[in-house]
């Protein structure tokens, strides 16, 4: 059959520019609608995001101004090394994060299936998904990098062109690793679809091993004081690998350092600025070249990869009850059969959902690595005790993000299966309590282990460790009660996306109350200890002259603080649970 010409004058193939404009309009409309929906439906969440971002930005800015002022005065040469280390780490992370985002956007999303059935160019679809991915993968970089670089310019007394060039340099840099991530993703999927998971695991493992090796070589050979000359010497040697001239991270840091350079009298240095512009041009040129390459790869590999990915034989996963499930079933037998079955069911769902436990493992794993390195520094007692409390707060905050993201939506997610639960001989209270037990037991094991690890590494005495463990128990109980109770009080039974449920009003409220609860517990627990250490450090003068402080720093003060902490935990767990149970009992589905 001879090809039929274009069906009629009504339709025609668009040029690449016209397609790009169309996708740009689409993204702009979607972005505007998203913002408008947030302004109308999620004002609290939007306000929180803005306020917390501003606070975060301001805190980082203040911290970096102090740090750069200190480094400029004592170790100016280290700044170049720090920039190189920071940007090269970010470069690696951006390659991975953009690659993964591109994979899910280009190969797993319903939108990709729609666009590939329309007369659109594969390179246009790639460019559309690339813009989406680059936004998601790099906003954190800009949020973290902009206060740091602004602080550097301020501490260094740079002229105004530095501040103007800062953002273009960062954005031009971001395009390079993001394009590399996109290209790697398309090549892997098109030509090695079966190996993509192995290749990604191998690359992530290699990056982690390299990071661990760097950390180990800096901190772990000999115990020494941080910021000493020997420590700096070792750190310089270990980080020298990040100063390769072919790394875009080196181009970026060199461009920034040149742009920040001024004449001895503080005025603008034109030669330095020209150098900075050359580095910007280098970044832009390489970014554009990689985009051209990515477009070419998309043209030959995208449709082929999409089809190749579907060529894998659908895996039939047969799962039998694991010995862990049986053990849990036996252990939970005192709770009664229905509760036990519900807990085992939730555990199976959690275990088989990689997105849940992988984040859990990554965050708690990183925290564990940090705690393992605590021994490398020498602390005095007051410093160690305060770090112990701060670590406790960090463990609580990470747990709160998990309870908000994964535990809070659990009741809502039962909505579509409610006909099953509703027909079972199970009281509704038992459904809610099973979620509470699941969250509490699932949280307490890693959290108490991490707190124990942190305290042991800091060399804290046993009574402090016991104190922290009690606080940890209270935090897990309170956070579980808040997430499950509020989740049952404000269920969204029609929504099937956990992410959407947790990012709604109820999820945001849970996160805010959880953060306040953690702060209250840690502050109440830390004050007597801090006062005790202050009186120890400053002698009895403080004790005799300040009777209230002496009392608060003594055993009665400690006991009172512990009682308040337990009371706080009790209130945080029971009040939301009671509200949730009452509402859930009467809920009509």
């Amino acid at each position: 059959m001879t090809p039929r010409p274009t069906p009629h004058d009504a339709v025609r193939l668009l040029s690449f520019d016209a397609e790009s404009r169309l996708f740009l309009r689409l993204r702009a409309t979607l972005a505007w609608e998203t913002v408008r929906s947030m302004l109308v439906d999620s004002r609290l969440r939007l306000a929180l995001v803005v306020v917390l971002s501003v606070v975060f930005w301001g805190a980082l800015y203040g911290l970096f101004v102090e740090a750069f002022t200190f480094l400029e005065a004592l170790h100016a040469e280290v700044i170049s090394l720090l920039f190189n280390a920071f940007f090269s780490s970010l470069m690696v992370m951006l390659v991975f994060s953009t690659g993964i985002l591109m994979y899910s956007g280009m190969y797993c999303s319903p939108e990709a299936r729609l666009l590939l059935t329309l007369p659109s160019r594969p390179e246009s679809v790639y460019a559309h998904k690339f813009h989406e991915a680059i936004w998601f993968s790099s906003w954190g970089f800009v949020l973290l990098g902009s206060p740091m670089l602004t602080a550097y310019g301020v501490a260094r007394g740079s002229a105004w062109p530095y501040f103007v060039l800062m953002l273009p340099l960062m954005l031009a840099f971001v395009i390079i690793p993001a394009s590399l991530g996109g290209i790697c993703c398309m090549v892997l999927v098109a030509w090695m679809p079966r190996l993509r998971v192995h290749a990604l695991s191998l690359a992530v493992t290699a990056a982690c091993v390299m990071a661990l090796w760097l950390g180990w070589s800096m901190f772990s050979r000999v115990r020494m004081d941080a910021m000493s000359a020997a420590w700096f010497e070792r750190t310089f040697a270990a980080l020298a690998v990040t100063e390769q001239r072919l790394f875009p991270s080196w181009w970026l840091s060199s461009g920034l350092l040149e742009a920040a350079r001024t004449q001895p009298d503080g005025s603008l240095s034109l030669p330095a600025m020209m150098e900075a512009l050359k580095f910007l041009a280098l970044l832009v040129a390489n970014g554009m070249a990689l985009q051209l390459l990515a477009g070419w790869v998309a043209r030959i590999a995208y449709r082929r990869g999409f089809s190749a990915l579907a060529s894998e034989a659908p895996s039939r996963r047969r799962r039998r009850a694991s010995s862990f499930d049986r053990l849990l079933g036996d252990t939970a037998s005192p709770t009664g059969r229905p509760l036990r079955l519900l807990i085992v069911k939730d555990l199976r769902l959690f275990r088989r959902d990689i997105s849940q436990w992988s984040q859990f493992v990554i965050f708690f794993g990183l925290l564990g690595l940090y705690f393992l390195n605590l021994r490398s520094f020498n602390y005095n007692n007051a410093y160690a005790a305060m770090i112990g409390f701060l670590n406790l707060a960090v463990v609580g905050l990470i747990l709160s993000t998990f309870t908000t993201r994964f535990v809070y939506p659990m009741i809502s997610l039962e909505g579509r299966r409610f006909w099953i639960l509703g027909l079972l001989p199970v009281h509704r209270d038992q459904i809610v309590w099973s979620k509470f037990l699941f969250s509490f037991v699932g949280g307490i094991i890693p959290c108490s282990s991490l707190v124990l690890l942190s305290d042991c590494m800091l060399g804290l005495p046993w009574f402090m460790i016991a104190h922290h463990e009690v606080c940890c128990l209270v935090l897990c109980m309170g956070l579980s009660g808040l997430a499950v109770g509020l989740g049952a009080r404000m269920p969204d039974l029609r929504e099937s996306s956990a992410a959407k449920i947790s990012s709604g009003f109820g999820g945001t409220l849970t996160l805010v109350i959880s953060s306040l609860f953690i702060m209250a517990v840690v502050v109440v627990a830390a004050v007597p200890t801090h006062l005790f250490l202050l009186t120890t450090a400053f002698g009895s003068g403080l004790v005799t002259s300040q009777g209230a402080i002496a009392w608060a720093a003594g055993p009665w003060g400690m006991a009172l603080s512990l009682a308040i902490v337990i009371l706080l935990g009790f209130v945080a767990a029971t009040v939301p649970m009671m509200l949730g149970l009452r509402f859930f009992r009467q809920l009509e589905v």
Binding site: M1, T6, A10, L14, L22, L114, P119, S120, R303
Partner: protein, 245 residues
């Protein structure tokens, strides 16, 4: 208008479609039937260019789906079994996006969008965000979008899922009218009554093979069963037990 030329599609060691050869002329409604896992969805996905055949070629209006997918897509309209819309676009904005993607002139696109909104009775909610639509409303919108550019070939994968009886009637009437004007329809369905009522020819796939190709009357003749329904014939043909002679 549609040609499957010795098309085979494998998923690892499993063959989903084996040596499929079918030609569907202009103005025909072809219904592809078969039990779950027979290879119908794989066939449809190859026909709309989402999957490449492992062997053989598929052509739409003479354009090879692998070698020249964009030209083939200009002639195609597709209604998937699970409607995909942008939640944060209104129905009308989605229709404009599709019209623009097909390069339709603004004035004509506006007229066609109004026409399809009227045909599918979308007026009431065309300016609401798609996230608020029910499954049936989404399906009607996808139907409207697939007909905007008056395609030569319309591919339907389980088209009636989620539609209420009135919408089903609207769709049937529209399809009949378009087929009279020369549009070719390739439909995969489990609704045998609809296939019997509307299809010019049916194809029955069983375990990746096209077991039968022809009209319902020819099927009756082949099975030596008279005055029986397509459902009966289908169940006989796809039964795992050998038929009593």
């Amino acid at each position: 208008m549609i040609e499957f030329d010795h098309v085979t599609r494998t998923f690892g060691p499993k063959t989903a479609v084996a040596d499929l050869t079918v030609a569907i002329p202009r103005g025909e409604l072809f219904a592809l039937l078969g039990p779950n896992g027979a290879g119908k969805t794989t066939t449809i996905r190859m026909l709309v260019g989402l999957l490449h055949p492992s062997r053989g070629a598929i052509r739409v209006c003479g354009h090879d789906l692998v070698k020249d997918p964009r030209a083939a897509h200009l002639h195609l309209g597709y209604v998937p079994d699970e409607p995909c819309l942008y939640d944060k676009l209104t129905g009308r904005e989605f229709l404009w996006f599709i019209a623009d993607m097909f390069g339709m002139p603004r004035r004509l696109a506006g007229e066609r969008i109004d026409r399809e909104i009227e045909h599918f009775e979308l007026g009431e909610f065309a300016d609401d965000l798609a996230e608020s639509y029910s499954l049936g409303m989404k399906q009607r919108l996808v139907f409207a979008s697939s007909l905007l550019h008056d395609p030569d070939v319309l591919v339907l994968d389980e088209p009636m899922v989620g539609l209420d009886p009135r919408s089903v009637r609207i769709v049937k009437d529209l399809l009949e009218a378009r087929i009279r004007e020369g549009m070719t329809v390739f439909m995969s369905t489990h609704t045998l009554a609809m296939a019997e009522e509307m299809a010019d020819r049916v194809g029955i796939m069983v375990r990746s093979q096209l077991r039968f190709l022809g009209t319902v009357a020819e099927l009756r003749e082949q099975m030596a069963l008279e005055a029986t329904t397509l459902e009966h014939l289908y169940l006989e043909l796809t039964s795992p037990r050998p038929r009593d002679s």
